[in-house]
């Protein structure tokens, strides 16, 4: 094992690997930064290219696109409050506030450093603990997933605002919106009023751009600041004392993200929200979260990137892809004659370790590439608002349309934009709604699976066979109440 590892390290140190990985990282970052384009599409399109490359070049190339793309998504989230994926929703909350304060460069630097740190630590942890993780992954089935998702929603409700009743109402609204369309288990149409366009449900992208970006556009327009710039300066780079202050947060979020990555089906969105909630809960000044707190950016970005290491484990040890990104990687592995499965490490250990080491190198490379690109990106906000705002509107509409070329999505974008403006005026936070909407389908599916597994008698099923999941369900309201009380008490003091 050790010998294969050292061999793998030697194999990964190749100029062409580094060159193509850098290209992948840069391309991924650009694609990820454009709303409506997803990293997944970029990976699928470029997959055939990797067939013609050496495994230690082709697979790191794809991994580079993936890693670059995740960071790329946080660029529009921070600069123009336009999160392109659910994973960057938590980032945009404090990131955009920092941009408004003229500290966009700091926010982007923080996002980069914490992404890379979270990713690197979780990758190293994964390499060292790959077989224990593989064992842990097997302990989670649909009942456990349901319990953990329900707990996540309760934690979000308890920690996201001063008023948990308002948060709960918004979560309920989000859950209801996610129920619109064809029921994923039974195939029954719900709340569609016979409209075919609603049959496939409400897509995520118009909601994200509508409720987060359009209200910001509206507020600039209403204030009529056409000659001014959104902010006159891009601000300084991140300083060492600021980074040092965030180190505990980055560490906590990395641990949370890694743990979330082990549970199949949770993913980056839950990790980012949990990392953010935990940082807010641990902070001595929770009231600064949501008002432009660097720690908020660090918490979300470290957590959503730390998910990446463990999600590779079922792919490498069992040959089972847990999501679409790993499915594409499986295609790339198989095309290279590497057959992920129980014997991969015995037979191809050196190559696999080389790929894993390349993942770590990719992170370090990305620190450099990202650091050099950030000044270029952050200049965007110094454009005059009379030019920037039309640009943002164009990106909002073009991004929404390009995702699946359906004009109905544009109507939804406008609808959610209006809703976002009204909700803001009424002092309702839209984030719990978006989280309810995103997590709703997974939770519903897990619930349906649990009911199917139990043959309709879920109570005795939980008690006799799924005691772990049952305990999580019992503890959930208690955790929610304690978190809310604690945060509430501290906000009042401050």
């Amino acid at each position: 094992m050790i010998e294969q590892f050292t061999q793998g390290v030697a194999m990964a140190m190749r100029l062409d690997t580094v060159a193509l990985m850098s290209f992948g990282l840069f391309a991924g970052m650009l694609v990820g930064a454009l709303p409506g384009f997803t990293t997944l599409m970029a990976m699928a399109i470029l997959l055939p290219i990797s067939f013609f490359l050496d495994p230690i070049v082709g697979i790191p190339f794809l991994l580079g696109i993936y890693k670059g793309g995740i960071f790329g998504g946080s660029v529009p989230a921070i600069l123009i409050s336009m999160p392109g994926t659910g994973a960057s929703v938590a980032t945009s909350r404090d990131g955009y506030k920092l941009t408004q304060k003229g500290q966009s460069r700091k926010a982007l630097d923080m996002a980069l450093v914490s992404s890379v740190t979270g990713d690197t630590i979780s990758d190293i942890f994964t390499i060292a603990m790959i077989f224990p993780i593989a064992f842990l992954v097997m302990q989670f089935g649909p009942p456990e997933l349901f319990a953990v998702l329900l707990m996540s929603l309760v934690v979000i409700a308890a920690t996201s605002g001063a008023n948990p009743v308002k948060s709960l109402m918004m979560i309920m609204l989000g859950l209801w919106l996610s129920f619109i369309g064809t029921d994923p288990l039974g195939g029954v149409e719900r709340f569609t009023f016979g409209s075919f366009d609603l049959k496939s449900g409400i897509p995520l992208l118009p909601m994200l751009i509508g409720v987060f970006a359009l209200p910001e556009v509206a507020s600039v327009v209403i204030r009529n600041e056409k000659a001014r710039k959104l902010t006159s300066l891009v601000g300084d780079r991140l300083s060492w004392p600021e980074l040092r202050r965030c180190i505990p947060t980055i560490g906590r979020s990395t641990a949370i993200g890694t743990a979330v990555g082990i549970v199949p089906g949770l993913g980056q969105i839950v990790a980012a929200m949990m990392g953010y909630s935990a940082a807010k809960n641990a902070s001595k000044h929770p009231e600064t979260f949501g008002e432009g707190e660097l720690e908020g950016v660090a918490a979300a970005e470290a957590a959503n990137n730390a998910v990446n290491g463990p999600t590779m484990v079922p792919l490498l040890t069992l040959g089972i892809p847990g999501d679409n990104v790993t499915a594409i990687l499986l295609g790339a592995f198989v095309a290279q004659g590497l057959r992920p499965g129980p014997q991969l490490f015995e037979e191809q250990g050196a190559t696999v370790f080389a790929i894993l080491v390349a993942m770590v190198i990719a992170n370090l490379l990305f620190l450099v590439i990202g650091y050099l690109s950030i000044p270029f990106f952050s200049r965007l906000v110094t454009i005059k608002t009379s030019i920037l705002i039309p640009l943002v509107i164009m990106f909002a509409f073009a991004g929404t349309y390009v995702y699946r070329s359906d004009p109905v999505d544009l109507l939804m974008l406008v609808g959610f934009g209006i809703f976002g403006i009204v909700a803001r005026a009424a002092r309702f936070d839209v984030m719990p709604m978006v989280m309810g909407f995103i997590l709703g389908p997974s939770m519903e599916y897990a619930f349906g699976q649990t009911m199917a597994m139990s043959g309709g008698d879920a109570t005795s099923f939980f008690l006799t066979e799924r005691i772990g999941a049952f305990c999580v369900l019992l503890a959930t309201p208690v955790i929610g109440f304690l978190l809310w009380k604690r945060l509430n008490a501290r906000s009042v003091q401050a």
Binding site: P48, F52, F196, G265, N324, V325, L344
Partner: protein, 323 residues
């Protein structure tokens, strides 16, 4: 080594560039004079997506035009299918789908299109036969053991599948119908999670395609009890026919369809291009690398299969939804 890799990467980029730039080569007013879009009614990263990426990188050589993949998932495949059904029948918008979306859904739901009246098959690319699998430590040594247990304890055996009315649900239901047994069907979001449920012990039995289970089989983690069709895939494993399940059961056919009313010349051009591509050694090599086979059928041959699927699925759905 470096030089060689560089060369192959350059070649690969050139290939990609050619795919994108393929549109400039032909200027005659003859089909195809612009790139052809292939709509996939499924999500990114799935087996159809990966198959299509190989098709679109080879097709321009034979069609003299680029081919673009458009993923339009939603409503269990209906969204993308509807888009092609409503498209102009000029051969510039094709559908890359499978038999369950194509022929089964019409009996489960009210569709905004009529698959038989709105589409004509262009070609079948390949098909995948399912295998019934259990863990290596399972008490079921043979398919008969499984059937016997299911008969003795109706609805108790947990069968994981990849989603309702999907590629493993339908054959499972057809097996239940043919042998008069009852399994507890638990849906998972795809074949991967279903296989994981089998390995973790949540499920007693599941199904898988050969490309997905090769490694698990080699490592001795699972046992195959039966495979679809009437030709043995593994020497010591019986086929569905041998265990009493007859017919076109357990095959997922990946097919390219065109809107009905597409001019015959256009269909001929497309069929010819597909036929030539299926012979292309690079195409075969790339498909094999993905773990997929190449088993072409012409549009007419597949149309006969579609008609028999329609009859079989109609009976199946009527049977399943009657109680």
């Amino acid at each position: 080594m470096l030089k060689q890799t560089l060369k192959t990467s350059l070649a690969a980029f050139a290939l990609a560039a050619a795919t994108i730039a393929g549109s400039t080569s032909s200027a005659r007013a003859e089909y195809p004079e612009k790139p052809v879009t292939m709509v996939i009614p499924l999500g990114a990263g799935g087996s159809h997506d990966l198959n299509a990426r190989v098709i679109t990188s080879i097709m321009p050589t034979y069609l003299n035009q680029g081919m673009i993949v458009q993923l339009t998932p939603g409503a269990g495949g209906q969204k993308g299918t509807q888009e092609v059904a409503r498209a102009k029948a000029d051969g510039y918008k094709l559908l890359f789908t499978h038999n369950y979306i194509d022929m089964l859904q019409q009996y489960v739901e009210n569709l905004p299109y009529d698959p038989m009246a709105d589409f004509v098959p262009v070609a079948r690319v390949n098909y995948a036969p399912t295998s019934v699998i259990v863990r290596a430590d399972s008490p079921y040594q043979t398919f008969e053991d499984l059937v016997a247990d299911a008969k003795a304890n109706p609805g108790k055996v947990q069968m994981a599948h990849s989603g309702n009315w999907g590629a493993f649900f339908v054959p499972a239901a057809q097996v239940m119908q043919a042998l008069d047994i009852s399994l507890n069907l638990v849906p998972y979001q795809g074949g991967g999670p279903a296989l994981q449920a089998l390995l973790s012990g949540d499920a007693d039995v599941t199904m898988a395609f050969p490309s997905a289970l090769g490694e698990m089989l080699r490592a001795g983690e699972i046992r195959v009890l039966a495979t679809a069709g009437d030709k043995r895939i593994y020497d010591d494993v019986p086929t569905f026919s041998e265990v009493g399940v007859e017919g076109d059961i357990g095959f997922m056919h990946r097919v390219v369809l065109a809107p009905k009313g597409t001019p015959t010349e256009v269909l001929d051009t497309l069929s010819a291009a597909f036929a030539k591509m299926f012979e292309d050694p690079t195409f075969i090599k790339l498909m094999n690398r993905l773990g997929e086979s190449v088993d072409p059928l012409t549009g007419d041959e597949y149309q006969a299969l579609r008609e028999s699927q329609a009859t079989a699925y109609k009976g199946l759905v009527a049977d399943l939804t009657s109680n």
